[in-house]
């Protein structure tokens, strides 16, 4: 065989492979994102979830009133509609955002006050109006609200009022903060527990693994609602609301960690025998560094998916507990607390707007679930 002519350049062969490699040279997160984008429902959900957390973040500013502000004159007032133009008295109209006032009549049969919309009373409203002073995030003293009546003494109930004449819109917005943060912080706690216990379980294996897995199975086999009820009932009634809030968080996380622990354990079991983990071990890397630097980064995307799917469970659990009156207590406002008002027949017949927080729960939980699904599908860019 003659090989006397100039051989094919070996470097050219290498180059060819490099260019082939560059076709897939996108970073991990770019790949995750491009996969995620294909999931349209998840993309919409991402926007919805982002919007909800935005509301939670700026609750004081976005809500027209403080959640505790009440006005006995306006119990169970129906929602007002926003009008944009008013009659200027000369046959024309001018631009003036407004809501209309109420006419109060006493029903002679039921002896209840009934509200009807009075189109004659114009209540001018505006954006960035001065209203009740508040401290944003407890830090910055402010008194501007996104929307509100220009004359603060006038009634302004975009989502109606409750049995004490409190503005439901303001309360729902403030409730968003509590409900959504319970989800987030609760999952944060479960994450710490789940990562540590799941990590040990998966990395160590053997007896430790068996014990932790049996504990997880035991916890998961206990019916959750009675367990929560029991734990919540054991809480002294005279605890301050903040302490109750944190206790509820701990109760929810005590069960929530099991799911995350399983995800982490499963990934650790499969990662433990990956070549790159063994090679790191043979580099003499310490166990702690091996877990934190070599194994954990492969888990991030899976964890994000697990977290996103765990948050709605937390929100639902908190709502259920609070609805039953065993979770958060007034004056803390959460969606569950607000839904307590819907427990009687009168609410259903006379004030259906009290269900608005319930709609918020449904939207938030659905959006988070869809988002979680999308993230889970996109999570492993190196998988199939």
């Amino acid at each position: 065989m003659s090989l006397d002519t100039k051989p094919y350049d070996a470097d050219a062969l290498l180059d060819q492979q490099v260019t082939a490699g560059q076709f897939q040279a996108a970073g991990q997160w770019t790949m995750v994102w491009s996969r995620f984008r294909r999931h349209k429902l998840a993309l919409v959900s991402l926007a919805v979830v982002g919007f909800i957390y935005f509301i939670a973040l700026f609750a004081e500013f976005l809500a027209p009133y403080d959640p505790g502000k009440f006005d006995p004159r306006y119990t169970f007032v129906p929602p007002q509609g926003i009008g944009l133009f008013v009659d200027d008295g000369q046959g024309g109209s001018r631009f003036q955002p407004h809501v209309t006032g109420y006419k109060i009549e006493l029903n002679p049969v039921s002896f209840r006050r009934e509200f009807t919309i009075d189109p004659e009373t114009i209540i001018p409203i505006g954006l960035f109006v001065e209203g009740q002073p508040y401290k944003l995030w407890g830090l910055f003293g402010m008194n501007r609200h996104l929307i509100g009546p220009i004359d603060q003494s006038q009634p302004f109930f975009l989502a109606g009022g409750d049995r004490l004449g409190r503005d439901l819109l303001s309360r729902t917005i403030h409730g968003t903060r509590i409900s959504m943060s319970i989800g987030l912080v609760g999952v944060g706690l479960s994450l710490v527990l789940g990562m540590i216990l799941g990590g040990i379980s998966g990395y160590r294996g053997g007896m430790v693994d068996r014990i932790i897995q049996r504990v997880i199975e035991f916890i998961r086999s206990v019916p959750t609602i009675p367990l929560w009820l029991g734990l919540a009932a054991a809480m002294p009634k005279d605890w301050p609301p903040l302490q109750v809030y944190f206790s509820i968080l701990v109760i929810l996380s005590l069960i929530g960690w099991t799911e995350i622990a399983r995800v982490v354990r499963g990934r650790f079991l499969s990662l433990r025998n990956e070549d790159f983990v063994i090679s790191a071990r043979l580099d003499g890397v310490s166990e702690f560094r091996l877990i934190m630097r070599h194994m954990m980064p492969s888990l991030y995307s899976h964890l994000i998916a697990a977290i996103t799917l765990a948050i709605p469970n937390m929100i639902l659990a908190e709502t259920a507990l609070s609805f039953l009156g065993l979770g958060l207590q007034p004056p803390i406002v959460s969606w569950g607390v607000l839904l307590q008002d819907t427990q009687n027949l009168r609410a259903i017949t006379q004030a259906p707007w009290l269900f608005i927080p319930g709609i918020c729960v449904v939207i938030a939980v659905l959006a988070l679930n869809f988002l979680g699904d999308g993230v889970r599908d996109a999570a492993d860019p190196y998988g199939k």
């Binding site: 065989m1 051989p7 094919y8 290498l14 560059q22 090679s279 070599h294």
Partner: protein
């Protein structure tokens, strides 16, 4: 060969749209396949050979698509252009399986594990032909008998996972032949098999082809296989056809530079590289004595396990300073486990490994505690088979190579930086690649990164576990030559594990042949390869396809 080609491919192009660019997997390929001949399509990974084969059956995976060209299948009365048939519908299904059959690389994944072998073959027959169930079953038995599966009647009712890899591939072939296809497309059918099984399957395909006058389109990357079975060869490179010729002409007189380079790199591995003579007095680095690793198979309840899987069963082997000891064996022989046990990835259940450290002290790796092992990790290193899985995809090359420096030396960040760049240059990679992630590199380059990691600290013994098997043949000798250079430079010893005799012959001083956890023969590499003593070694050596068609029985004088 004269006459009308059974399959005529003209100007075939297949494109895969990527995120930003379009990958032209197959560019303007034309070839003919004559009845009764074997056309080998050969090329390295990414050359488009598999895509070409799949395009013929309209099986191109999404998002890829055939963008131009025609594939004409000559029929009794009419010629059919397969491209026009589309990828679904009754017309193409009439061709798939019935007129053109295909066998794949991995028989485990192409056979359904939930149906019996017989069920799958009978189904194929019933699908394409109007025969009764009993008749189909009889034909299935005849087919299994034809592909030399013992006890075909019983084998029919077994599941694919009850078969070995070679048996599965036979069953797959039986299934492909069930409707007497005119064309058989074999996509790397022996790549996943051991050499001895490969030899059996190759001769079976050859024989069946002769009997039935089938045309075979055989896709492979192995020049040895090509030399054994091809009538004609088509060489592909980056989606293009480089050269097409008669197999004897191609090997004797390649026309294109790429073909020459490809053949050159194959033939280079055929002759051992020149090695310095061994010193008269050998200094052993590691003396493995009666090493054993037994896994309990059925741990009884509260009782002692009754049977053991003897992954390594009493291995004794000495590796001398500056020497390369090869370990060769088929899959399941325990060679990889041996390498890993040596490094205590697995803790052995018996035996000793006496390792002489750099300062002359002896330690027994097999019984060393964790703290003792820690100090060895800089000296005894490992190179893994698959450079894709052994480099953490989430770490940069700098982080990967600096990891052993971080744990075994007291270098500062700046010193490590310099050392990593020095190492990258040493293994023939650009120093500025340090901040890139492994996926930006090709397979061969990644293996160089693995080597850089292995030599980062002061290595004395490197366990190389099939370091070239995942690489294309043109890159193998480059990596081996690099390892050889490093050996002279650092006075390294290698334990070189491979299933590939040619690589062993090229690279090693001595070689141990392993079978079922035991060493059956050990000796000088030339002696083992030329004059093997043990029967198993003889079978192994003779089964390796040599890249020289002149050794064939039907070679022209």
């Amino acid at each position: 060969m004269t006459g009308k080609p059974i399959l005529k491919v003209r100007n075939l192009s297949v494109d895969f749209p990527m995120r930003r660019a379009v990958l032209h997997a197959v560019k303007d390929i034309s070839f003919d396949l004559m009845p009764g001949e074997t056309l080998c399509v050969v090329g390295e990974s990414g050359s488009g050979k598999s895509v070409t084969a799949r395009a013929i059956l309209q099986l191109v995976a999404k998002p890829g698509s055939i963008t131009q060209g025609e594939i004409v299948l000559a029929g009794g009365e009419d010629d059919v252009d397969i491209v026009k048939l589309g990828s679904s519908g009754p017309a193409i299904r009439q061709i798939r399986g019935r007129r053109i059959a295909m066998i794949f690389q991995e028989p485990m994944t192409s056979l359904s594990p939930v149906h019996t072998i017989g069920h799958q073959i009978v189904e194929t027959i019933l699908l394409h032909e109007q025969v009764s169930k009993d008749e189909a079953r009889k034909r299935a038995i005849a087919l299994l008998d034809r592909v030399r599966i013992p006890n075909p009647e019983q084998a029919l009712d077994r599941y694919s996972f009850e078969f070995s890899g070679g048996m599965r591939q036979r069953a797959m072939i039986a299934m492909a032949l069930s409707c007497n296809p005119e064309v058989l497309i074999a996509d790397e059918p022996t790549t996943a098999l051991d050499v001895t099984t490969q030899a059996e399957i190759l001769s079976l395909i050859k024989e069946l082809q002769r009997d039935r006058g089938m045309a075979v389109l055989f896709i492979t990357h192995d020049m040895g296989v090509v030399a054994q079975i091809a009538d004609r060869v088509m060489v592909m490179f980056r989606g293009e056809k480089v050269e097409e010729a008669n197999v004897f002409d191609l090997f004797a007189n390649p026309q294109k530079a790429y073909t020459k380079a490809l053949l050159g790199s194959v033939l280079k591995l055929e002759t051992p590289a020149p090695r310095p003579p061994r010193p008269a007095a050998e200094v052993p680095v590691a003396a493995i004595d009666n090493l054993a690793l037994h896994f309990p198979l059925n741990p009884g309840f509260m009782g002692k396990p009754v049977t053991y899987l003897k992954a390594i069963d009493g291995i004794s082997l000495t590796i001398n300073e500056g020497e390369t000891v090869g370990v060769v064996g088929e899959s399941g022989s325990g060679k990889t486990t041996l390498g890993r046990t040596l490094l205590r990835v697995y803790t052995p259940t018996g035996g000793t490994v006496n390792y002489r450290r750099g300062d002359g002290t002896l330690v027994d790796i097999a019984s060393l505690r964790k703290s003792g092992l820690q100090s060895l990790y800089g000296e005894v290193r490992m190179i893994f088979q698959d450079p894709h899985s052994s480099l953490n995809p989430r770490m940069t090359v700098y982080q990967i190579i600096s990891e052993p420096l971080r744990t075994n030396t007291r270098m500062s960040e700046a010193q490590m930086r310099d050392r990593v760049e020095e190492l990258l240059t040493r293994v023939g990679l650009p120093a500025d690649g340090a901040d890139r992630y492994p996926h930006a590199f090709s397979g061969g380059q990644r293996q160089r990164i693995s080597i850089a990691r292995a030599i980062a600290v002061r290595p004395r013994l490197i366990v190389a576990d099939e370091p070239t098997s995942a690489l294309d043949v043109s890159l193998r000798h480059q990596v081996l030559d690099l390892m050889r250079d490093l050996q002279t430079e650092f006075g390294l010893s290698y334990l070189f594990i491979s299933h590939d005799i040619s690589v062993i012959r090229y690279f090693c001083d001595r070689v141990a042949v392993m079978k079922s956890g035991k060493i059956v023969e050990i000796g000088d590499v030339a002696q083992i390869c030329e004059r093997p003593v043990h029967d198993y070694t003889k079978t192994l050596i003779s089964a390796v396809p040599r890249p020289d068609p002149r050794l064939r029985a039907d070679a022209p004088a």
